[in-house]
């Protein structure tokens, strides 16, 4: 029993690499779809890895699940919905544009508009500005200049 446990532990500790040859589907089109979907799904026990890249056993289970759904005739979105229903939106590496998430997606474009408006306004004022008068050197500056010239 103890020995069996030790062997089991060894097997668990063995690193499984990402997509295994036995997972690959025979139909290349289906396989490509499965790969694309896998790249957008997060491995739940890893730190910021997709299931396509992850070596964790759970990621393998999810990869097999995705393939199973696709072989069963699911469309891409049906397969994704199936997984999101079970694991929550946390598995999606690409957040949906729903609810408060529109703020995330719009943050860049909105900021660009704002920055461009401010930038353009600034440029307009610079264009219309008059050349400043040349101000004479202050006393400290004159002293410093004299000092510098003395060096030479």
């Amino acid at each position: 029993m103890r020995q069996a446990l030790a062997i089991l532990l060894m097997v668990i500790a063995l690193p499984l690499s990402a997509v295994q040859p036995d997972e690959v589907l025979d139909d290349p089109v289906l396989e490509q779809r499965a790969r694309d979907l896998s790249k957008g799904l997060r491995c739940l026990v890893c730190q910021n890895e997709s299931i396509d890249e992850s070596e964790a056993p759970l990621a393998r289970d999810l990869r097999l699940l995705v393939r199973e759904r696709l072989v069963g005739g699911d469309s891409d979105s049906q397969a994704i919905d199936f997984i999101v229903d079970r694991y929550g939106e946390y598995v999606l590496l690409r957040p949906t544009v729903t609810g408060s998430n529109w703020l995330l997606w719009a943050a860049g474009p909105l900021m660009l508009l704002l920055a461009s408006a401010i930038g353009f306004g600034y440029l307009r004022t610079r264009q219309g500005a008059s050349e400043p008068e040349v101000v004479a050197l202050s006393d400290t500056e004159k002293n410093r200049l004299a000092e510098l010239l003395k060096d030479e």
Partner: protein, 652 residues
């Protein structure tokens, strides 16, 4: 004994830092020259003492002194010497000591090379720099002391994380920190200028080399990290949009923006308050990066020593310095008046566009990185923001940046003519387009991403070349006599183009093959033939390796013997994969070995990665461009004085 001395000296450095943060500031305010003069020797002493403390810690690692808790946790007697040394910064406490060492190094450099600064400005810069050091000395001494002893020293250590036992990663943190912390100089100059109430061309000229140096180091550091990820993590990705990667990328983007806006301050005395704001934010983002890595707030592959207490301490440092500087900025920004007058079509405007794109892209990365936290705190949603988001939201800004770069960098100052600039670029445009079309014709039925990326890369690279050629007024002999700053600009811009080239090529044309390879049975991937000849066990210094012999053939000729490995580090109980890569100019062949299969044979993963090297070649070019610029005579203090003598004497 040496360890205790190191600890003691670190406390002394802390005390010196406190003095240096207070006395020169009062001196500068009251114009007491004696008080201001304290800053210089204090900065040098502070650096020397911190260097001694760092050396003491390194000594403990090199001699494997396991009575030191940190050495016991992160080292092992069988570890190769290189990693004993790099183990010093391969952990939280040691890396903080390296951080503060570099902080004091920059302070000391400002004291050594700052002779031409006005005395009050120099005193203030050194005082601000030292106040940052005070915070980090306190952080080390009160929450992360590297010099703690163990009552009962164990026989051997627990070894360093095997992923970190790698030459690429050994030097990744020092470069990254040189970059992060180098931005503290820009910060100190910005705050000092706010205190002085004066920002002018001279200020920009002083601050630029420091920013440039920081940016160059950050570029090298990020490049090394990305290269490491490419060959070590086993599937050849080069960028993962991981929170910690983003933490280093945000300061890089802002430092790049700062470099360009400081040019406008120097040449045209405009964009002053924006430049000051950027300098504050760039360092602020360095601190945010430190906070992200060390607080455990965001989980990531690299995060070490997650400890809420430390996180709160760094958050306080962040709030104090960034918040304080921003309040000061709000009070003083109105005194900084722009002087230069220029039209909407001008080099100045092009640089403003550059700044908008870089700053907004940094904002996108920032929002994306912190969004999971916001969403959980305010909307009660647990979600992830991963690479697909960043690729979609960030890439358009870089494309826009690449498109305007060649035109913007040749526009005239003050009043440019867009038609003229476009006209000058017509051949470059044609050449880039022809290249893209050629590639589009050659590849059949693939995405447009490859040709588009090639167009953009070629447009930037040839644009930089034409810029240089025009600077030399189309004469070959003048080309070599151009100032190094001109060369630096062209080389760095071309580097960006080369990196875009590489990224586009790798993403668009990568070929992947996963299979069970039987011994002595050749198989083809793309235009290559591979054959697994055998798998052997190899004993390394502190690991066991399973190593495959794979022959790579092209057109029936053996071109390389590849040895992909799987290593197991028994002490750390962790496996790593070591990909075998045949590096060539136009492509890499990347082979990873997996597990033995039941029916015989081994899992073998083969990738053909076109233009992969170009990503890092471009990074190196960017860094090289920065160095060239830095070595320009205008920045060299002594040479500057010499030049003044040559040119100004007749005018006298």
């Amino acid at each position: 004994m040496i360890t205790e001395l190191g600890h003691f000296v670190l406390i002394l450095a802390f005390l010196i830092a406190i003095v240096q943060a207070v006395v020169p500031l009062i001196g500068a305010h009251k114009h007491w020259y004696g008080w201001m003069a304290v800053a210089e020797p204090a900065a040098k002493m502070q650096f020397l003492f911190t260097a001694f403390a760092f050396a003491a810690l390194t000594y403990a690692f090199v001699t494997s002194d396991f009575s030191l808790r940190l050495v016991w946790l992160n080292s092992h007697s069988a570890k190769p010497m290189l990693y004993k040394v790099s183990g010093v910064w391969g952990n939280h406490e040691g890396s903080m000591l390296l951080w503060v060492l570099i902080l004091t190094l920059f302070g000391a450099c400002a004291a050594w090379f700052g002779d031409n600064l006005p005395p009050t400005l120099r005193a203030r810069v050194l005082a601000i720099q030292s106040s940052v050091a005070v915070a980090f000395f306190a952080f080390i001494l009160f929450t992360s002391n590297p010099f703690l002893r163990l009552a009962v020293p164990p026989f051997d250590g627990q070894d360093l994380n095997p992923l970190l036992q790698d030459p690429g990663l050994a030097f990744h943190p020092p470069f990254l920190y040189l970059g992060y912390v180098g931005l503290s100089m820009a910060f100190s100059f910005a705050v000092a200028a706010l205190l002085e109430g004066r920002v002018d061309a001279a200020w920009a000229r002083w601050v630029r080399p420091w920013t440039l140096a920081a940016w160059v180091f950050l570029t090298i550091g990020i490049g090394l990290g990305s290269w490491w990820a490419y060959y070590e993590l086993g599937w050849g990705g080069f960028w993962f949009w991981d929170p910690v990667e983003n933490a280093s990328f945000m300061p890089w983007l802002l430092a790049a923006a700062l470099l360009h806006s400081a040019i406008v301050v120097e040449k045209r005395e405009s964009l002053k308050s924006w430049t000051i704001l950027l300098a504050i934010l760039a360092f602020g983002f360095s601190l945010i990066g430190t906070f992200i890595v060390r607080s455990g707030l965001l989980t990531s592959v690299h995060a070490f020593a997650n400890d809420p207490e430390r996180g709160v301490f760094i958050l306080m440092i962040l709030a104090f310095f960034t918040g304080g500087a921003l309040i000061l900025f709000a009070m003083r920004a109105s005194t900084m008046e722009a002087k230069g007058v220029f039209s909407v079509v001008s080099r100045e405007s092009a640089l403003v566009s550059n700044n908008i794109l870089l700053a907004v892209s940094c904002f996108v990365v920032f929002v994306g990185t912190l969004w999971p936290m916001f969403a959980e705190m305010f909307f009660d949603r647990k979600l992830s923001v991963g690479p697909p988001f960043f690729n979609m939201a960030f890439t358009p800004f870089m494309i826009a940046l690449g498109l305007i770069l060649p035109i913007g960098s040749t526009l005239a100052w003050k009043r440019g003519k867009i038609g003229r600039a476009v006209h000058q670029m017509r051949y470059v445009f044609g050449l880039a387009l022809a290249l893209a079309l050629l590639v589009w014709v050659m590849q059949t039925g693939r995405s447009l991403m490859g040709p588009l990326g090639l167009f953009l890369g070629a447009w930037v690279v040839f644009g930089a070349a034409l810029d240089l050629w025009m600077r030399a007024q189309r004469k070959l002999d003048r080309l070599l006599r151009l100032p190094r700053a001109d060369w630096g600009k062209a080389v760095a811009h071309a580097g960006l183009g080369v990196t875009m080239f590489g990224i586009a090529g790798l993403l668009a044309w990568q070929v992947e093959d996963i299979r069970v390879a039987k011994i002595d049975e050749p198989f083809t991937v793309g235009q290559f033939e591979l054959e697994l000849k055998g798998v052997k066990r190899v004993q390394g210094p502190n690991y066991l390796s399973t190593m495959g012999d794979v022959i790579l053939r092209q057109d029936g000729v053996d071109i390389a013997l590849l040895n992909p490995e799987k290593r197991n580090y028994p002490v750390a109980q962790m496996p790593t994969t070591e990909a075998a890569i045949d590096y060539r100019f136009l492509r890499d062949v990347y082979v990873v070995i997996g597990d033995p299969q039941q029916g015989g044979g081994w899992t073998l993963r083969t990738y053909i990665k076109p233009l992969a090297n170009w990503i890092w070649a471009g990074t190196l070019l960017m860094a090289l461009g920065g160095f060239l610029s830095l070595s320009d005579r205008r920045f060299r203090v002594a040479a500057g004085a010499r030049k003044r003598r040559e040119t100004h004497v007749p005018a006298q």
